[in-house]
């Protein structure tokens, strides 16, 4: 199940975000939403999972 984890340090107000269980472009969409609300991050790092391409199954349509 996709998860987005946030850690807020109340002493400084700083926040870290970690996206888990979301591969490739879908992960980028969540990061884009965060950027829209928070602005550009001070640091950004892709986990190995980011580079895994989601498997898409080919759909074969039956002949009419």
């Amino acid at each position: 199940m996709p998860e987005v984890e946030f850690t807020i340090n109340t002493e400084t107000g700083e926040m870290e975000m970690h996206i888990e269980g979301i591969k490739g472009a879908a992960c980028r969409d969540v990061a884009k939403l965060a950027e829209e609300l928070l602005g550009a991050p001070a640091r950004e790092e892709n986990t190995p999972e980011f580079y895994v391409r989601p498997q898409v199954q080919k759909q074969i349509q039956p002949k009419k």
């Binding site: 199940m1 998860e3 987005v4 984890e5 109340t10 107000g13 939403l33 602005g39």
Partner: protein
């Protein structure tokens, strides 16, 4: 006279979430407009202008107005040196950032249509969205 400090590295991108975060800290009486003047604790007009202002009457008699000036990226706080030192035990900007960030997480939870779990460990708040 207290000097005003502008925190250019702290930018609140979303106006609605900034207003909600200010309300979370107890500042729900907010004035909005274009280039509003900021006033000092003696009622003196200051050189700084802002688009979102919390008037000193909502803060304390020794306080100055708090402002948020709009820039290309969002809203930047303009806070007097005195208020920066005294409000929220000298952690006003940090408290506002934390409140704003929590609002961001709630907004993301709604947009992702997920569930939210919140845990506090000392001065650290951990939030998890599952969707």
């Amino acid at each position: 006279m207290s000097k005003y400090l502008t925190f250019t590295d702290v930018v609140f991108t979303n106006k609605a979430l900034l207003l909600a975060a200010l309300a979370d800290l107890g500042y729900s009486d907010v004035e909005q407009g274009e280039g509003l003047h900021l006033y000092g604790y003696r009622g003196d007009v200051r050189a700084e202008r802002a688009e979102i202002v919390v008037r000193r009457r909502s803060i304390g008699s020794s306080s100055n107005d708090l402002g948020f000036a709009r820039s290309g990226e969002g809203y930047t706080p303009i806070i007097s040196e005195y208020d920066q030192r005294t409000l929220h035990d000298g952690k006003f900007v940090a408290s506002l950032r934390a409140a704003y960030n929590e609002r961001v997480v709630k907004e993301m939870q709604q947009r992702l249509r997920g569930s939210l779990r919140r845990e506090t460990q000392g001065s650290v708040v951990k939030l998890k969205i599952r969707y």
